[in-house]
Symmetry: C2
Subunit: 399 residues, 2 copies
């Protein structure tokens, strides 16, 4: 035993747009029950602690949604905590769960994330609400939107390194193709590079098919000490043991302008990765990581990420992506689940869903067509805003 | 050394209503700088980790305020996390910081909480926003408000135990009187029981002077391992060492109706206290705790709390309060800071401010007129909603 927390069970809902048939509590409960079922546990109250992950009070016209969901799951009077970090919320929740278990505060903790954007808000309202994630006083008030900030970063990357729109399109094609092997994915598609390049312009260099979507959905993961898992989960001994092995977190300025002229990449992501790698003595991530789920909110962001995570050198991400290095069957499969572009991104659930894909890759239980070969160590990369808060979590199979 | 985290420094702004002269980032920075000054540290970046505490995205028309404040404090690219738990947010933030330090994720963490309710919202809008903390679908839509829920709980307490309005008024008088010795308090007052009883009815049995107020303000506390504190803070060795010794958390249903007929007291608070007491082997809290800050959102809530925390038996809170047991100079001084009624309650800062009062009581650095005698162990009690999420934190001076 390593002393690190282990994953006891995982649960996911399908990711979809505009779920008007249910509330956010239905989604959270569905994921939580699926997680407990996966862990072979009959009673949600078998866990010692809850941890709720969702992005904003705005989407559900509800404050203290953490307490509400905790109650809806029947977890009272157990302790609970809600964690939020924008787009990185789910990954930050897992990081915090790691700390709760490692500190001895509890032996088991059910981490569940849910988001339902569509309910009672129009698309325009949703966009306005998302814009509140930028600095309200100094960015949103002058019309700044995330798509524009991301586009400016990619333009700078292209200018400095010669990265191309076709290289970005490779990501958009591959991730949606990977999603074809994921029955819970929102947007499985069989596209060509040309179709992406010819899709409607949104914010140059990004076209419609370079952009991820609004999603509704939920994810849950049960984290525990290895002792607790062996004592409580009847299925634990039947699967390979997957440890939550390392977690790093970094941050950057809210405003893109405050980073000028270094706006091609994500400083906070580099800091997060370095922390996580240091915990495991990883010096050559391309060789020492077997599978990864990266935060492809826009296609080019994955190119920036493979550089910041040290998979390739700065500026070499575009060519590396286009070479197939990160495709299924490539050296380091990236976003086998379909990523944000193909699987979808219900914000509070996204980081947890990324972790679930990695855990299932390490267990060897995903659809064979998207299974990475010999996967023993996997990484998730999740961020808020334009890399304003970045979390890197690493999971390992040890047997 | 005990291995428990220690308090390295504390910082507070004045609590006040309707701060229209500043933004929430100004308040957070003021508290954070005061905290670092208190710890004898010149550079905010001396810390390893940030932790932001605030209640809702609504008040500031801003999402990911945690990332924004982290940036405003100049803490990038350090890691950060935002924790939220309604009224218990600040206490939950400290509990989470405890876990971050105890897990080894960091050796020092700056916990800062801030709230600015008044900005760009009317009192009516603020009340509507606060009402979103109740279940939007099943409570707010039928007109449920917190004052009404609290009043119903106290009515039940009076009916079952014979608790009186005059006993509640004792809390309202004492806490505002204590606030007279706190220069940062929002509502120091010298009232009589009669003045409280004769104030305007709000929701029977609560009158205007039984109710706490909306407040703006911020608080910060630097938590660290003892090794880090000795190595980095030049003033640490000059003060008694105060450990963050125990933390408990419990929860209860969102809807009061779901607890019927047990609506006189707070089940989640009992669970939280029992966890914290178990960590320290406390069997007789009245004898083993020297000073406490309790969540007196309404006067009678303190009466309910002294029972749930085990200071006195169920039903005996009213008589115990009226006997002066919890007054300054009494056996266990409660709310020497003035509490929520006298000092004020900027939500995200409240739990941290309670802890700061306890730490300064243990250091012996508060105004002599509100100093508890021989204070070596102090407790904070903080909750969300109507006890929907409860956190009990205990601090100890050991020397």
């Amino acid at each position: 035993m390593s002393g690190l927390p282990v994953v006891v069970g995982v649960g996911l809902t399908a990711f979809a747009a505009n779920r008007v048939d249910c509330t956010v509590r239905d989604l959270a409960l569905e994921a939580a029950l699926a997680c407990m079922h996966d862990a072979g546990l009959m009673d949600l109250k078998a866990v010692q602690h809850g941890l709720t992950s969702y992005e904003s009070d705005h989407f559900n016209r509800q404050m203290t949604l953490g307490a509400l969901l905790h109650d809806h799951l029947g977890l009272t009077p157990l302790p609970n905590v809600r964690v939020e970090g924008g787009g990185a919320t789910g990954a930050l929740a897992l990081r915090t769960a790691w700390a709760y278990v490692q500190s001895g505060l509890c032996d088991s903790i059910l981490v569940y994330g849910a988001e339902l954007n569509g309910r009672s808000v129009s698309t325009q309202t949703a966009n306005q609400l998302f814009a509140l994630s930028a600095d309200f006083d100094w960015e949103m008030m002058v019309g700044g939107t995330y798509t524009a900030f991301y586009a400016a970063m990619m333009r700078a990357h292209m200018q400095r390194y010669g990265t191309t729109e076709a290289q970005c399109a490779h990501v958009a094609v591959r991730n949606r193709k990977n999603a074809q092997h994921n029955p819970l994915a929102q947007k499985p598609m069989d596209l060509t590079i040309e179709e992406v390049l010819n899709s409607r312009a949104v914010a140059e260099p990004y076209k419609l098919l370079d952009c991820s979507l609004l999603s509704d959905g939920a994810a849950a993961l049960l984290l525990a000490t290895e002792d607790w898992a062996r004592a409580h989960s009847p299925v634990f001994a039947r699967r390979p043991v997957v440890y939550f092995a390392a977690t790093g977190c970094g941050s950057d300025t809210m405003r893109l302008g405050d980073r000028y002229p270094d706006i091609t990449n994500f400083r906070g992501k580099r800091a997060a990765a370095q922390q996580a790698y240091a915990q495991l003595g990883i010096s050559d991530p391309l060789a020492q990581i077997d599978v990864a789920e990266l935060y492809d909110s826009y296609s080019g962001v994955e190119i920036q990420a493979v550089e910041d995570l040290g998979f390739v050198a700065a500026g070499e991400g575009g060519a590396a992506v286009a070479s197939g290095l990160f495709d299924l069957g490539g050296r380091l499969p990236v976003n086998p689940s379909g990523g944000l572009l193909g699987r979808g991104a219900p914000v509070g659930a996204t980081g947890i869903a990324q972790a679930i894909e990695i855990v299932q890759q390490l267990w060897g239980t995903v659809h064979p067509a998207r299974q990475a070969a010999n996967a023993r160590r996997g990484l998730t990369d999740t961020h808020a805003g334009i890399g304003t808060l970045c979390v890197v979590n690493i999971f390992e199979r040890r047997d």
